[in-house]
Point group: C2
């Protein structure tokens, strides 16, 4: 599985159960959310703008995905939860390291814990595990994603910085993606083969 196939497989709507292990206070906290991923065209103006913000040629975008989520965690301040205080969206755009599409930069717009555009790294392993590594300010995050079953995605990783937390999500697909637009991947790079 390459990075484009990984995002394509991840398309659809997922119910996510998340648990965080807070390492300093040694407590576990759980929550749930709904996550939706749709592929965007690499010609989408938001994708072109994101590439240009980071100084990449938009032609280098292997594919693009928009992820939206809405959820809550046990320790949320219930007074502010009204519209879901874990709600947001991100656009992800992978850009390969030269000809090796198994690793590269991952451009990201409007993340969960930050609002400025962020460049992370992605690595696809030999056993189809996607690792995402992101640094923003003093926060470092490293998360692995894999599919033990076609409609089950597991995610686990660490966030180090303001607080030290490990987290785990069990995500079950409840709605399959709309029929794929094959134009979403840049096939000229061989990325989807």
């Amino acid at each position: 599985m390459n990075i484009v196939e990984f995002f394509q497989h991840r398309a659809g709507t997922w119910t996510s159960t998340r648990t965080s292990h807070h390492l300093i206070i040694k407590k576990a906290e759980s929550g749930t959310s709904e996550i939706h991923l749709e592929m965007l065209s690499v010609q989408d103006p938001q994708v072109i703008e994101l590439c240009e913000q980071h100084g990449f040629n938009p032609e280098q975008a292997l594919c693009a995905a928009k992820v939206t989520w809405n959820g809550s965690m046990e320790w949320d301040n219930k007074d502010t939860v009204g519209e879901g205080n874990h709600k947001g969206f991100t656009i992800f755009v992978p850009i390969a390291d030269g000809d090796d599409i198994q690793q590269g930069h991952l451009l990201r717009h409007q993340g969960y814990a930050e609002k400025a555009p962020v460049v992370g790294r992605y690595v696809m392993s030999s056993d189809d595990v996607l690792s995402l590594i992101t640094e923003y300010g003093t926060v470092y995050s490293e998360e692995k994603f894999w599919f033990p079953r076609p409609n089950l995605c597991l995610r686990a990783g660490i966030t180090v910085g303001m607080s030290n937390v490990t987290s785990f999500c069990t995500e079950i697909r409840k709605v399959p993606p709309k029929s794929e637009n094959t134009e979403t991947a840049r096939t000229a790079t061989g990325a989807s083969t």
Copy 2:
């Protein structure tokens, strides 16, 4: 990292925080345990016996590790927890598929959810993630282990069968291993290089 180096790195005593996501009832359950791993000599009689039980030549054992644990989960019957009802030990012995030590059989004695000897599979990926796949009776389990930091091990996976559960452990090393006995690994196979 190869499978022998992985086990060697895992030696020591770890504090483990475990969370299980019960997929059918959609509930998370947490618990804690202490896990200790020590390398055994491949000449240890228990290791030789385990190989012979499974019809393998003991000379094929790449290394051997004994894991003991003691813990409890939230939903445990408190009346029976006295001595810790998640307590036990396992001996692991990896046997490579021919010359490829990155994957092979994993012999196992006295597991957590079963008492009969079990043969599973191990795979080391390109990014140093160890996957263990075990089938015993109608139960199938698949778990990934990796070290985001030298003294931090994350484990996550699924168990399918009697119940469908995903689980996640954050494990922090609290006691380093005793000085290594270099005789524990079968260096003649090149496994520890």
